[in-house]
């Protein structure tokens, strides 16, 4: 991962140039940088602050305010369990419990040690018609049940195994 660091750093400069180092574009800049690194490394945030001519505290302030930004690396598969109202009344909590148990994760520990899975809850994904909903990376899985959740997890694990064997 370290090897592509300079390449990614070039990307940060590109992003800053694209937005003409405009502090008003801070959120867009952080979004694009996070796209690249999958999280916001502290030294990169400091660099952005210097480039924009604002204090590192303001960058950190924005990065911690919005839930989309993460200061820690996430797993390869980010599993989001929707806990919006519609999903909640259709028992999304049971699905979360199943996933926590299967993956050995909790509200505190969100990413598995092997960096394969990250488990999160989100307030609403706007797919209420399909409640309860689970999203793996960007793929939406609707009308979930405990059984379907385990099936989904096994499918990902199987896929992961095959990729490793290659």
């Amino acid at each position: 991962m370290r090897n592509d660091f300079p390449v990614k750093f070039d990307r940060v400069c590109e992003v800053l140039d694209k937005h003409k180092c405009d502090p008003n574009k801070l959120i867009a800049i952080l979004q694009e940088v996070q796209e690249e690194y999958k999280y916001l490394p502290e030294d990169i945030m400091t660099y952005i602050a210097t480039a924009l001519g604002i204090s590192p505290g303001s960058v950190f302030g924005v990065a911690t305010f919005y839930s989309h930004f993460t200061l820690e690396p996430k797993g390869k598969y980010v599993i989001k369990v929707c806990d919006g109202t519609a999903c909640h009344v259709r028992k999304s909590e049971e699905i979360l419990k199943v996933l926590e148990k299967e993956l050995g994760l909790s509200g505190r520990k969100k990413t598995s040690d092997d960096m394969i899975f990250t488990l999160e809850t989100v307030a609403c994904l706007g797919a209420c018609g399909l409640a309860p909903v689970v999203v793996v990376n960007d793929e939406v899985h609707g009308s979930m049940t405990k059984e379907k959740t385990i099936e989904l997890l096994n499918r990902i694990r199987e896929q992961e195994k095959q990729e490793n064997n290659k």
Partner: protein
């Protein structure tokens, strides 16, 4: 901004519409595949591909974009069918949906294996595939005309008319259906005051929840002199349980842009922003494409429609903060800051984005604007109630047979929405129990709940406010009799507590303490003082918070306390959850008649709280019981009940 007046092509709307009409007449059928989030998740794209494949296999031709080249009379039928990817058609429960025009057939729950049959029987032989038609649950009758399906028949889809019908990838389809004609009229033929007056006369009120008259908001921004003014479209649809704006932005992004252009002409703005929440990536990309297309056609940019006016729009992606739905917080967010609300006045109409006069409207409000200009204010006013004009979209979800996106005139009752459009309430076992809901939560975490007593209440801004709820953005979550209302209140409290930005102490700390009090109630620690304290705190948070988030955060608690106080009392004084949902309050007991005295429960009990012997029904010792539920799961004869 791209291009100048000299190089840029300005689209001729009338000609585009003419060509389109001629070209579309040459297709035998138009196959519309719903590509809304719901249907996509159920495999709509593979159905789309399968259609192409099967039609080719049959030696027929299918176009995916309308062929607008002018053809000679004899080779008109170059393509037999037109395959279209549309936005959300609303009937998410029955997806994936495939609609065929001109037959107006709606096929529901279509699978790839059904495609061959649809092509062979319906497209080629003009027969119905009955098993794919919507079946009325009562009469078991298959509905052949989609407009006759109760879900659609009872609605009045004005704003959503094109969403779910037109091709999301072809702007010309929007134009062919009258799109951008009103934007052109507002640019070329109307003055700013005329537009404001028309919107004011229509009675349009903000669809984002507040219900402020849109025309007045525009007029207040119009009268403020400034070199730069802004129009912002608020697409930060954060209410859990609401997805109306998402469907509009994804299914008909041009209508949002058109509304913004008209708003810009009304207030003399030159720059617009669409603020979309990051959870809606598809909406972001569709809007960006739509903006690009509009620029290429001289609809956005400099000299729009060949006039001397300029207006351009930029998409701003949110980063996940519910409070940014509040207008001053949203402005802070566009400026690249933490999305915290600020004190009003000054209102955005005076000092908004970058300190300039700004008009902020919700997606649905703006998408309704072109419709109003087209219908005329007089005609639009005829819909709705005395104080709330027009129609409103609702996201109907929860324990209801037909979940989906609906549009009804203000004044429609819950009986009609839940019973007729929604097809009835579903209990935990999946049985339909008519309109026997326990509550309908309206307006998300800022709203309140409605009960059986409101079944025939005409829903509008004022009636809902009087009932202690609010229209909000329009999420309608139906809850069946088995829902614990204290837990629902806790659910919303948890949400607002998480999303409180932390600026006002009473909101930041008050919501946290309210949540702790609700936890006490749910986990059996509450005493006589808890409810009073909860109510007192709720009122404090309501009064002492700056923005809408804090002001409305206690609503779900106050409204459940009002309508379901007995349920709270059961939790607090009797340590009992009437619906048996609160684990800490569950008591288990053995039904003597059903007990076969097998002893399995006693063996499973980790604390030896169950006693009995062969031939004698077992008994649970409540004192010893830790309410783990092991006996409940173990019993093979359903002889143990909880509650």
């Amino acid at each position: 901004m791209t291009g100048s007046i000299l190089t840029k092509q300005i689209i001729d709307l009338d000609k585009t519409r003419e060509i389109y009409k001629d070209a579309s007449a040459s297709y035998k059928s138009r196959i519309v595949i719903c590509a809304g989030t719901g249907c996509m998740a159920n495999g709509a794209m593979s159905i789309y591909n399968k259609f192409r494949e099967v039609i080719y296999e049959r030696g027929l031709k299918v176009a995916v974009m309308l062929d607008k080249e002018e053809h000679k009379e004899d080779d008109r039928c170059d393509n037999d069918f037109l395959l279209v990817e549309s936005g959300c058609q609303g009937f998410c429960q029955m997806g994936p949906l495939v609609t065929l025009y001109p037959q107006k057939i709606l096929y529901t729950k279509v699978k790839t294996s059904d495609v061959e049959e649809i092509v062979d029987r319906t497209l080629i032989k003009n027969e119905y595939v009955d098993r794919l038609l919507y079946e009325c649950p009562d009469s078991k009758h298959h509905v052949r005309d989609m407009d006759k399906i109760p879900f659609y028949e009872r609605q009045n889809r004005i704003m959503l008319k094109l969403c779910g019908h037109i091709n999301v990838h072809d702007a010309d389809e929007y134009i062919a259906n009258g799109g951008y004609f009103m934007a052109r009229k507002s640019v070329l033929e109307m003055t700013d005051t005329q537009i404001c007056k028309e919107i004011l006369d229509s009675g349009l009120r903000g669809r984002g929840g507040g219900g402020f008259p849109t025309g007045r908001k525009w007029d207040l921004t119009r009268i403020n002199e400034s070199d730069v003014k802004y129009v912002i479209c608020n697409g930060d649809e954060g209410d859990p349980g609401a997805f109306m704006d998402r469907c509009v932005m994804e299914g008909n992004p041009h209508s949002v842009l058109e509304g913004m252009i008209i708003a810009a002409m009304a207030v003399n703005a030159t720059k617009g922003y669409v603020y979309v929440r990051t959870e809606y990536p598809l909406a972001v990309s569709r809007l960006k494409t739509a903006i690009r297309t509009a620029r290429e056609n001289g609809i956005l940019g400099e000299h729009i429609f060949g006039s001397d006016r300029s207006f351009d729009i930029e998409v701003m992606e949110g980063a996940g903060a519910f409070v940014c739905g509040e207008e001053t917080a949203l402005i802070a967010s566009i400026e690249g800051k933490r999305g915290m609300p600020s004190i009003k006045p000054p209102f955005p109409a005076e000092k908004g984005l970058f300190g300039k006069p700004t008009v902020i409207n919700n997606v649905e409000t703006l998408a309704t604007v072109p419709v109003i200009l087209e219908m005329g204010a007089e005609e639009y006013r005829k819909l709705g109630t005395e104080t709330s004009k027009g129609t409103k979209t609702f996201a109907l979800t929860g324990h209801v047979a037909n979940t989906g996106l609906i549009e009804v005139p203000f004044g429609t009752t819950l009986r009609e929405i839940v019973g007729e459009i929604g097809g009835g309430v579903i209990d935990d076992d999946g049985n339909n129990c008519g309109v026997d809901f326990k509550a309908v939560q309206i307006g998300g975490p800022s709203g309140g709940c409605l009960t059986q007593e409101h079944l025939d209440l005409p829903l509008d801004y004022d009636n809902l406010r009087d009932a202690g709820a609010m229209v909000g953005s329009g999420g309608l979550v139906v809850m069946n009799q088995n829902t614990c209302m204290v837990q629902i209140a806790r659910f919303f409290m948890q949400f607002t507590q998480n999303e409180s930005c932390g600026k006002c102490v009473v909101c930041r700390e008050g919501t946290r303490q309210m949540l702790a009090l609700l936890d006490d109630i749910i986990e059996g620690r509450a005493d006589a003082a808890t409810l009073d304290l909860l109510e007192e705190l709720a009122n404090t948070v309501k009064i002492g918070s700056l923005c809408g988030l804090g002001k409305t955060a206690p609503n779900p608690v106050l409204s459940t306390l009002k309508y379901f106080r007995d349920e709270y009392i059961a939790h607090v004084y009797n340590k009992r959850c009437p619906t048996g949902n609160c684990d800490a309050l569950k008591t288990y007991r053995v039904i003597v008649e059903k007990c076969k005295a097998c002893g399995l429960c006693a063996r499973k009990c980790p604390v030896d709280a169950i006693e009995g012997s062969k031939g004698v029904p077992y008994v649970i010792n409540i004192e010893k019981c830790i309410r783990c539920g092991a006996c409940y799961t173990a019993c093979k004869f359903d002889a143990i009940v909880k509650g």
